[in-house]
């Protein structure tokens, strides 16, 4: 099971597209966080813990203590934990980086690309852009975690900077770039047309980098390509609301995913009492039914419309698909397919290994460690 710990809803930034409700500040107690670890240890096997917020680095002390607590349990109980933290990067410092290195904590960094894009939305409380403050933080992070992922959010007004932003992040040293749309924003056909051109430019960038045999990962292209290559396996890997991963709110309440935190309608348990399996199953089933709006669509097995969390975020209902998501899927798929077709036709070794070889990640890790 994976637990996303919403350590706090507080944040040191005021991003314009932020969906976190910060009205009443709340922070998770160490006791609650430890209970999550106890639950994971009891379940046995390998448990994923994601430190999330607001900004989780406002609670560094809790992170230090929780990780050390979990590592101690691993020694006595035979359980395993792996950790990830999702941060805006502003509070990264050498001590924290050393700690994440020591404990193999995966650090995911939020950044929206070139200054023109980033500073439009990722601002501090006074409304100032944070681009400049993050330059040194990126260096600090990548020196210790060269494969740290960066997450970039695209808005209608920043779509025109998409290709330049991806390239900027890549040139800054990020090799694992995950871009996603702010689906809730006011997307229009014109803004999507701009994005289409930007995706095409980025596909060209992907094509050339891959032929040069650079090692990188770039969403949303990878997933769309895999949706064809993996076929049914891709469908079976879909998230099942609350089945394999849940979100824990600062007060210990459990929700199926990050977008639901605080919405009592979707409360599926509490860390003191456990998950209500009936509620979880009902939710998972409800989100699984084929969406009426999508019946007859030939690309539905490759489309993201099944994601209840995304649907909830955009339309307020887990079963109602957002027209923006639909338009985006129809725009993206042909570009991703054309890119993959070109790379396969060219018999690109990197493309073939990355997408067809199940052992690619292991080989890649061996390569990195040998080269180090």
């Amino acid at each position: 099971m994976h637990y996303t710990l919403h350590l706090t809803n507080n944040c040191n930034l005021s991003c314009k597209y932020c969906y976190v409700n910060k009205e009443t500040k709340s922070t998770m107690s160490l006791d609650t966080a430890r209970k999550v670890i106890d639950t994971g240890a009891m379940e046995g096997g390998s448990t994923g813990i994601v430190f999330f917020g607001g900004e989780p680095l406002l609670c560094k002390d809790i992170i230090y203590k929780v990780v050390e607590y979990a590592r101690a349990l691993e020694r006595t109980k035979g359980c395993r934990f792996h950790f990830k933290v999702v941060t805006n990067g502003m509070l990264l410092d050498q001590r924290f980086i050393d700690f994440t290195k020591l404990h193999h904590i995966y650090v995911a960094f939020s950044h929206d690309g070139i200054r023109e894009a980033h500073d439009q939305n990722r601002v501090d409380a006074a409304g100032n852009g944070t681009f400049d403050c993050l330059t040194d933080k990126i260096k600090l992070l990548l020196t210790s975690h060269p494969y740290a992922p960066v997450m970039m959010v695209v808005n209608p007004e920043t779509a025109k900077y998409y290709a330049a932003s991806v390239k900027h992040l890549y040139d800054s040293g990020f090799k694992y770039i995950i871009t996603s749309l702010n689906f809730k924003a006011g997307w229009t056909q014109d803004a999507l047309d701009v994005l289409r051109v930007e995706y095409k430019k980025t596909a060209d960038f992907y094509y050339k980098r891959t032929l040069k045999e650079d090692k990188f990962y770039l969403e949303p292209f990878e997933t769309k390509i895999d949706s064809h290559i993996k076929g049914e396996d891709y469908c079976s890997q879909r998230c099942e609301l609350g089945k394999n991963q849940v979100s824990v709110a600062p007060d210990g309440s459990i929700y199926p995913c990050v977008q639901f935190v605080g919405d009592k309608e979707y409360l599926i348990g509490h860390i003191d009492t456990g998950i209500d399996s009936h509620k979880q199953a009902a939710l998972s089933q409800a989100s699984h039914g084929e969406k009426v709006s999508c019946l007859g669509c030939t690309i539905r097995s490759r489309c993201n419309h099944y994601c209840g969390c995304l649907n909830k975020q955009t339309t307020g209902s887990i079963n109602e698909v957002s027209p923006v998501l639909c338009a985006h899927e129809r725009l993206l798929l042909p570009i991703a397919d054309k890119l993959a077709h070109k790379l396969f036709k060219k018999r690109s070794a990197m493309f073939i290994q990355k997408h067809y070889n199940d052992a690619y990640q292991i080989i890649s890790m061996i390569e990195d460690s040998i080269e180090k």
Partner: protein, 218 residues
Amino acid sequence: MLKIEPVRSYRSPDYPDKRVVLENPDILKTLPQRWKGKVYAGFAFSSVVVLLLSGCQQQATAGVPAPPAYLTEEEACSIIIEEAEKYGVEFDKTGLELQDVKFYIDRNTSEASAIVEHTQDIELDGYDKEKKIGFEFASSDDVQSLAKNIEGLTEDEILYFTDADYKEELEEALGYLDEKIYFQTFYSASYPDIADTKAELQEQVESFMEWLKSEGVI
């Protein structure tokens, strides 16, 4: 206003899915330069074994498939005409000559002048005058002749101008015509068995005809 719009027909991508690689494990011997001669290259081959063990044994024993079977342009056009007849659409083989069709080719580069304007006459492979329904079969000759005539494309861009590009560009260009026609580009998929290739084309025609029906055109 954005809407949910189910995609009525989407061509199956031209790069293979994983089953094909299971049947042709040699594909995985294509190694990045950096891996060559290194210890971990061995993993790349042995990972085929991992794939075989991960639940696709039947396909894995099927052996190397025959080379893909494409249809000739003539065969493909006959199939399309025959299928359309079942829906009362009479495609005339002499087609329709469209003059000065304007293409705006997006060159996929990060340079500012990425769009290349190109004008060309196009003779459709089939046209039903009465119903204003036309089709074009995207053969590799069509694709290459269009690509070669576009001024400003590099050699590499011409080489990698695919039938998917041709379909996209032609359909977009026809959208700019003053006279509206109902139009579809068909293509030949590449299954090892020619019967499957034919069936796939028949399906493409069927789905176009069903769409015309749903639009009240036929």
